[in-house]
Amino acid sequence: MDRTIAIDVNRLCKSYDGHKAVDDLSFQVYAGEIFGLLGPNGAGKSTTLRTLITLLHPTSGTATVLGHDTVREADLVRTLFGYVPQERAIDRFLTGREHLELLGALYHLTKEEAAKRIAELLKLVELEEHADRPAKTYSGGMKRKLDIACGLLPNPKILFLDEPTLGLDVQSRLRIWDYIRMLKARGMTVVMTTNYLDEADQLCDRLAIIDCGKVKTIGSPAELKVALGGDSVSLTIKETARLGALASAIKGQPAIRTVNATATGLDIRVESAEKALPAILEAANKLDCRLDFIDYHRPRLDDVFIAHTGRSLKDAAPAEETT
């Protein structure tokens, strides 16, 4: 893969009234990859994205897009990327074609250039038939397609997507994923935020897990899972009072890596399930802990998330601000 750096975020900080939305955040995006910013609402993903699209000035630190600073060279940077905001960034009264014509003028295309490109894009996102209907008659999936067409109108080298599949039905989601893969195949660099683990796992070449304004870890989904080391066993226990005792009995046994207590049981990282499971069950028996449920699985991205943030993405508190 091409290791040219398309985007460089360096020690980025952004505070609002003393609250640090983004706190010393650094990452790089390579040209031609799909890069994901994964984290719960309020983690700082949108703030980071809004800095990259030049609409926020960092409190400190810098961000560059294709080598150009997003503050000092904002005008130039704006010509380099396409942007797909979160859903609803659509004018209900305008038709799909009128959205694209408006943007065509804002990117200073001539009428002929714009008409040609609009025809191509409408075909690409399969909105040709609906192009002349007001957007208020569109379904959620169609609005999203129009959003993406708008993002692609400037024919950008880099595309920013903010939660591209938020609130979509399964079919529309898969469709959007296809588009994103196709764009990558055409050589586009894609940066997207998401709070869906499966989306990050399926789609992203590399991703940064972000929580509380900081990058917790960066890598490809496969690397991140391998880095956890070993498979995972989760226990759900009836007598939660004995959790502590059970945890210390299991710790230090052969083939056991780490033991973490959860609200209802234990999350155990093991080298091999064959060796570890008997030891775990034996310890439970000895302490007379009745097991409600036992689950064994290969590492998932969810485990990566928990390992780096100390909580599951589902449980992560939704924050007050997502803009």
Binding site: R50, I53, T54, L55, L56, H57, D75, R78, T79, F81, Y83, P85, Q86, R88, A89, I90, D91, F93, L94, E98, E101, L102, L103, G104, A105, L106, Y107, H108, P134, C150, P154
Partner: protein, 259 residues
Amino acid sequence: MAHYWQEIEALTLRWVRRLSREKFSMLFTLVQPMLFWLIFFGNLFQRAADVQVTQAPNYISFLAAGVVVMTVLNNGLAGGVDLLFDKENGFLERLMSAPIHRSSVILSRFIFVMTITSLQVLVILGIAFLFGVHPATGLPGVAMILLIGMLFGVGLTAISMAMAFSVKSHGDFFSVLGFLSLPMIFLSSALVPLTAMPTWMSVLAQFNPMTWAIDAVRPLILTNWSDALPHVGMAIVVMLIFDALCLYGGAKAFRRAMG
């Protein structure tokens, strides 16, 4: 420069399209001022109003200037609403992430609001004409009325946009709007001349730029140029100061919101 015009033209066209597709709301914006204020109030208070006090042949001819400026007030204060919705649903972000001049969106909005307001003022003067109110200064007077209206409207639209960029929610926006507009109307010479007000009200009304605009428009409709000119001159000075303050505040709010 060619780019700048291309942007402004496309953005202004968007506002026109939006309005043309909201026919219902267009009808109401247009009809409300003339129906309620001019026709209902004009006729309702006809006998209650004292000609000695209003110094006008009838109440409707006195009220016409007030209704013209009230229309400017309402359009101006509502001028930022569409930007507020654009801000809330992310459309503004989409526009501002394009390589456009930072002022294009705002300028397109000013052009649109000023044009709609002018058309409405002309409609109101037309309706008033049908009720026998013939502007004493003729067409040049009408042009001057439009100029004063525009000067007042620019500042009001700037206030509205500044609010749109600063408020946390649109609930706040509409509360402040409601809070501003009625006192602005009652603490002005729109409905009664200052001489007929209790002293404290007439003192407050003199700090209201709306009073100055109305006091210039009224002689243009009722009397003659020599009577009107001193008021027109004062109104233009007051409006320029008002606009400068509002535009300064508006620019600050915009910069804070758009980084």
